[in-house]
């Protein structure tokens, strides 16, 4: 028999930085309510210092992640899909309680998100074959063009769990380390996703998730000199120009997704390197 007078065990929502779940350095939280106005959770309201710590962690993790074989990266990403599959119900319930989406629709959304994650995972060992090239040159040289990851990429997501998954997967699959900024009710399933990441053999710092206010964090991400790419798809149109200006100082790649599922979103956070190599005798 389940006792009705049992003390409720409520979940403390934290951030996901460097493979750990710290509270915000600022100690701040914000409230998430259901559509009907019922209190759901107190996710952390991340500060710019949390962002700075995430960038440090992401930078430290990036080299090892990019150096891992594409096959290994694909395996780890697939493992994340496996783990998310086991949490699908919880994710769907969180989506339907924090938004106007019906439970049935939420379930199919989570399934779609998992499918997309697997689709991205599959690209890890195909990118260089599909987008790289051996270029014809008039001389005794080989000339290769190889796609390489940018480095540290910040992505944003606001309303949709699928957008959140898309943004992270597209950046991380090629060997970038990622900091995802999410706000509002999406913070609740986003932290469930963080728990999935924590149990998927993903090296610490490769994906970091900060919940809070996009308006507060985005300018600091845009101007941060150690961030190489910034996906501002979830930022309102009015604020985008300002972020592009701030990102110009270190020639940050600023990207806005067009909503299509396409490998060009992966390539947006890669750069093509061309190498000349002499032909041996």
């Amino acid at each position: 028999m389940v006792a009705t007078n049992r003390i409720e065990v409520k979940k403390t929502y934290k951030l996901f930085i460097n493979g750990a779940f710290p509270r915000s350095e600022s100690g701040r939280v914000f409230e998430v309510h259901s559509k009907k106005g019922e209190f759901i959770a107190n996710p952390c309201l991340a500060s710019r210092k949390d962002l700075r710590d995430s960038v440090t962690a992401a930078r430290a993790a990036q080299h090892g992640w990019a150096k891992a074989t594409a096959y290994n990266r694909g395996q780890i990403l697939y493992r994340i899909a496996e783990m998310l599959e086991g949490r699908a119900e919880q994710c769907a319930a969180e989506i339907s309680t924090t938004t106007a989406i019906t439970p049935l629709k939420a379930q199919s959304m989570v399934s779609e998100a998992i499918d997309r994650w697997v689709w991205y995972a599959g690209w890890s060992d195909k990118l260089s074959a599909v987008t790289g090239a051996t270029n014809p040159v008039a001389g005794p040289y080989y000339n290769f063009t190889i796609p390489e990851p940018l480095g540290v990429v910040v992505v944003t997501a606001s309303d949709s769990f699928i957008d959140f998954i898309d943004a992270i997967a597209a950046a991380v699959v090629s060997g970038n380390s990622v900091i995802a900024l999410v706000d509002g009710g999406l913070s609740v399933p986003a932290m469930t996703f963080a728990e999935v990441l924590a149990t998927s053999d993903l090296p610490a710092g490769v994906i970091n998730i900060l919940t809070g206010s996009l308006d507060e964090l985005a300018p600091w991400a845009a101007s941060h000199m150690d961030v190489d790419g910034f996906d501002i798809s979830a930022i309102s149109k009015k604020k985008r120009a300002e972020l592009k200006v701030a990102g110009a100082e270190n020639l940050k790649r600023i990207y806005i997704a067009d909503g299509k599922l396409t490998p060009s979103r992966i390539l947006a956070f890669m750069e093509q390197k061309t190498v000349w190599h002499t032909i041996g005798v």
């Binding site: 600091w220 000199m225 150690d226 701030a246």
Partner: protein
Amino acid sequence: MSFYGLVDGSEKSLLNFLNQLSGVDQVGAESRAAMLATRSIKTTSKRWAIDTAISMVDLTTLEGADTPGKVKALCSKAVRPDPTDSTVPSVGAICVYNDMVSIARTHLDSIGGEKVPVAAVSTAFPSGRASMDVKIRDTQDAIDAGAAEIDMVIDRGAFLSGKLGLVFDEIVKIRQVCGEKAHLKVIFETGELVTYDNVRKASYLAMLAGADFIKTSTGKVAPAATPPVVLVMLEAVRDFYSLTGRRIGVKPAGGIRTTKDAIKQLVLVNETAGPEWLTPELFRIGASALLNDLLMQRMKMDDGYYASPNYVTID
């Protein structure tokens, strides 16, 4: 020799002096250091602290893989830590192994860094396991090569087995070798001394024997310059000053990598020994990676956005 009139140089008088020192309250020292670490230093105070910390850095490279090229590059960085900003002060000193001293001195002089002293680690650093004769010649060699500061290690084995007279005599002898030519810093390797009581004893022992500076660690052993250890040493120099009227310097080294760590150290100095110690003559930080973080924090304060390690040198 008088040894401040507190001991007469015999082991017996030394033991008498050291045994009357009170023990360190471990819990108290740790909680005091932890409490001081929570001080929030912002805006203009932070700016002052960063510049003060830069001027106190003993920029160090003590690797088997050191080359003349690396030492020269480090010397250039010591004089102008940020080549794009001439308002950044020079560091306190360059700290290298003996054979690199003359290379560092010559290079510093050739680039306008005459005021930056070269410190040499001496007496069979980092273990201290060599005969006294070798230790003396090691020290003499460094001074002849142009070292203005000698960082000597104590014989921890002798200290821990109670041969305090031996440790004392070694410091006295090295002090004599240094003479007027070089400042003497005495390294305890606090990570090997086990207790705070030992750190306090070693501090007084070294100060009585003629140290100009007492230094926590070689940087080769962890834990190194933890805040409670530095607190105990700062208390020792403060009390030694009221006893003798002479101010001895303190140099934490090892494990201080971030601006936050460095500012915590400065708070400890100010609140324990007093503001008189907030000068490179009396407080130094032995570090290598720290300088880049200080420079990045300085850039952040100037530019208003977070800096990247891509814009400071790789040492």
